[in-house]
């Protein structure tokens, strides 16, 4: 039975359109006519979840099947949640407004560690037992996917299974097994047993973890030899022929990315040593220009969107960018559809392109040198030097841009105060570059914004063994930089909350013992931790204390290379040997080339896809 959300309730909440659905291209099916119902949950509000490309792909992919109905579920904002709890309204799906607990499979996409309390909150609001061991024969299965699923250990006791890697193929295999299992009316455990041997599926309850007296992991092993010792992620080899929805939902309410997102390639070949995305999405696989043009045309025809955005980890790396953008601009002009080009490396080609694409509005340009000195940029393998950066800025200033954002990280391995001061020096040099441009040529009112985030060591990166700077240390560095920047008039400075980055570091490299802390923090009212006004740091610290767990053990401790890491049984293709080698090269300040130029032997070649295969074919 669908839940009833009265006008009176919707009249009381902020942005009621978050809860009403009925958008253009929403999939409508008779729930009685399908064999399985899938609730695709995004642990954040509608505007954020609807902006996520992965959700769009999987929603439509599952709904291509006649035997499955996939619906969307978002976290109600706190105003709506308190009404729902007061009125006894359970968490419901957008399409039918049926309670989520009546679905067969409840899947969460995990994009960010600080959304875990929302996962717990949504399960509770749905009336589904939080721990997998408490779920009975009539409860749905809870699964997760997305980048954070690669180290799902902190949620190991909550999720029934996790999907590693790109779910486009594996999700269909899981649904086939589910439907067969359901028709046989087999016991709950039997379903998990059957999918545990599907490549890319991880059932945490079938793996046991033991610990050393020092508190580190000593071993993670399957409880039975039937299950694989290592779980390897899945990828889509041929992206061009992979499923891609052409009738995506067009929301009424303004969402964060309210446009057609055209994914031009997956993966990244740069190998920045702090970057998890750069490792876990390997190998690099491009789509062809013809395929992309065809998709863009159909998407605009079916959505009516006024803008197309090229998406990837680094737009400039796309090998056919000139051809693609030229043809897209030409095709879209009569329909007045504009093109946006995020994460573009700034050079004369891209500036020219931006001028053609965006016509006017010289909005801000973004640069991400990440570190203030060449020494530290070499440590992190960010292949950017000062000369290039200043040249790019000069080009932009000559082209009339006068708004520049510079992104850096504080707390990178080996960082000293010299490196921190280097950030201010670099900002000053950018200002000097502006002043060199003749008055009549440059845009008015220079505005340089320096932003620093705090480095968070992530699993599956060359820095996965590193200690995060303590919060005190990070705050000291922020203060120091603030002092240095104060003297430069056209530069403003903002920084991230080190407390949030600290928790992110704890959970990102956490093990199974953190599950109880997350649930405890949620019991103390933590949710929407990534939303500044909702973040309750003190409650988190109490939760750690009450569970007898020291968060610094996870965030601020340097691990040795031979320590067993909580995610060692997960295989993302890139080998631990490669990561170790990269870490050692980092200490020596040695660069590693872009793997489009020369294979660096990272291990992702096992997937036999993308540039790895192209390399081999070249010789």
């Amino acid at each position: 039975m669908p839940v009833r959300i009265s006008d009176e309730i919707l009249g009381q909440v902020e942005k009621p359109s978050r809860y009403v659905g009925n958008e253009w291209n929403m999939v409508r099916k008779d729930p009685g006519s399908v064999k399985a119902r899938f609730a695709f949950c995004f642990p954040d509000v509608y505007e954020i979840g609807m902006s996520h490309l992965g959700m769009k792909i999987l929603y439509h992919l599952l709904n291509e099947r006649e035997d499955v109905y996939c619906e969307r579920v978002f976290a109600p904002w706190v105003d709506m949640e308190s009404i729902m709890r007061r009125e006894g309204i359970p968490l419901f799906a957008m399409e039918t407004r049926d309670p989520v607990r009546d679905f067969d499979i409840v899947g969460f996409t995990l994009q960010y560690e600080m959304s875990y309390t929302n996962v717990v909150n949504m399960l509770d609001l749905a009336g589904i037992p939080i721990f997998s061991r408490d779920r009975g024969e009539s409860d749905p299965f809870v699964c997760v996917g997305g980048p954070c699923a690669y180290n799902i250990e902190p949620l190991a006791e909550i999720v029934d299974f996790a999907v590693m890697g790109e779910a486009e193929e594996v999700i269909n295999e899981v649904m086939d097994i589910y439907i067969k299992w359901k028709e046989e009316k087999a016991p709950r455990r039997e379903f998990l047993h059957r999918i545990a041997t599907v490549e890319g599926v991880y059932v945490p309850s079938f793996y046991s973890v033991s610990y050393t007296p020092e508190g580190t992991v000593s071993e993670i092993r399957p409880v039975s030899p039937e299950y694989p010792g290592r779980i390897r992620k899945r990828i889509i080899k041929d992206l061009d022929n992979a499923y891609f929805p052409e009738k995506i939902i067009v929301p009424y309410a303004g969402i964060v990315h309210d446009r057609v997102m055209l994914e031009i390639f997956r993966g990244c070949s740069h190998g920045c040593r702090f970057c998890q995305a750069g490792i876990i999405y390997r190998p690099v696989r491009e789509r062809t220009v013809d395929g992309l043009i065809e998709r863009a045309r159909n998407l605009i025809r079916n959505t009516g969107y006024e803008e197309i955005s090229l998406t990837s980890l680094s737009t400039s790396d796309y090998s056919q960018l000139g051809d693609l953008t030229g043809r897209l601009l030409e095709e879209m002009e009569p329909m007045k559809v504009s093109l946006s080009l995020p994460s573009l490396r700034i050079d004369s080609f891209s500036l020219d392109l931006m001028q053609k694409a965006q016509k006017v509005r010289k909005s801000g340009l973004t640069f991400a040198p990440e570190a203030g000195t060449q020494r530290l940029r070499d440590v992190i393998n960010k292949g950017v030097n000062e000369e290039d950066l200043l040249k790019s800025c000069s080009l932009a200033f000559n082209g009339g841009w006068s708004n520049v954002k510079l992104y850096f990280m504080l707390g990178l391995p080996t960082e000293t105060l010299d490196d921190v001061e280097g950030i201010a020096d670099l900002a000053a040099k950018v200002v000097a570059e502006y002043k060199k441009v003749p008055r009549e040529k440059r845009g008015k009112g220079l505005n340089v914004t320096v932003s620093t985030s705090c480095f968070v060591p992530k699993p599956f990166t060359p820095f996965q063994w590193e200690a995060q700077d303590t919060m005190d240390m990070l705050e000291m560095k922020q203060k120091h930089l603030k002092e240095k920047i104060r003297g430069i008039r056209q530069v403003s400075y903002n920084w991230h909350d080190s407390r949030l980055s600290f928790l992110e570091a704890v959970i990102a490299r956490g093990d199974r013992r953190l599950g109880q802390v997350i649930v405890r923090a949620w019991e103390k009212g933590c949710k929407f931790d990534g939303w500044g006004d909702q973040f309750k740091f003190d409650a988190w610290m109490e939760a750690f204390d009450e569970c007898g767990i020291d968060p610094a053990f996870y965030a601020n401790r340097k691990r040795s290379f031979d320590e067993v890491l909580p995610w060692d049984h997960i295989d993302v293709g890139v080998s631990k040997k490669f990561l170790k080698r990269e870490c050692e090269k980092a200490y020596r300040g040695e660069l590693t080339v872009d793997c489009r130029l020369n294979c660096t032997g990272c291990g992702a070649g096992v997937f036999e896809g993308g540039i790895c295969v192209e390399h081999r074919n070249k010789g």
Binding site: D7, P16, V20, W24, K336
Partner: protein
Amino acid sequence: MSIAIRVKFIRGEEAKYVSHLELIRVFERAVRRAGLPIAYTLGFNPHPRMVFGLPLAVGVTSEAEYADFELAEEMRPEDFMDRLNRQLPAGLKIVEAFVRRGKSNIMADIKGAAYSVVVCAGDMPESVDILKLTEVFLARPKIMAEKETKSGVKEIDIKPMIKKMSVDESFSMGDSEIAGACGNGKMFRFDIETSAGSEANLKPELLFASLGDFAGFRFKVLKVHRTGLFVANDNRD
């Protein structure tokens, strides 16, 4: 040869939470999906030439909304209506389309609006007769209301803006969804006509707040449905 088409459309339950700005975007995207020859503004950032009548508050339904579309080429209004209707989401539907003559756009033409309003009078004493109360309320020489403006609360006389106000005696609490929202209180439906548009605009909520102040108990507005918009000149052929 460009033409302007004026349409009348309804906004039903499914689309009542769409804000005015969102509504414009919904139409813009529907026009693009339908491949209609809409005219665009000149300049670097071209926008489709569409003008919508009086914005409708979020949560309000209507059977009489108006919009003007300028087209770059000649087209039969019926064809325009058919093609656009096929691309409009649930809750939005064009019911009439005609070629607009003259230059003035819909915004400038609107002078008044009619609404059907369901209210809940939770604390109304048994002794009060709603018909009598309304009659006395309207008969006063001035009807004051507290209007919230950007510079604070202002007392204004709304009497010149009330064109009609009557209690619908045939109304019964058949609609169970709103019946629950009134508890044991009494519910009434009013038919009202008020000034609307850029010169003078009276929202139903303000009118019932004023009635409540006069009566000494509150009239909670449960449902507002716009039944008509009145134009000085609809520029029809």
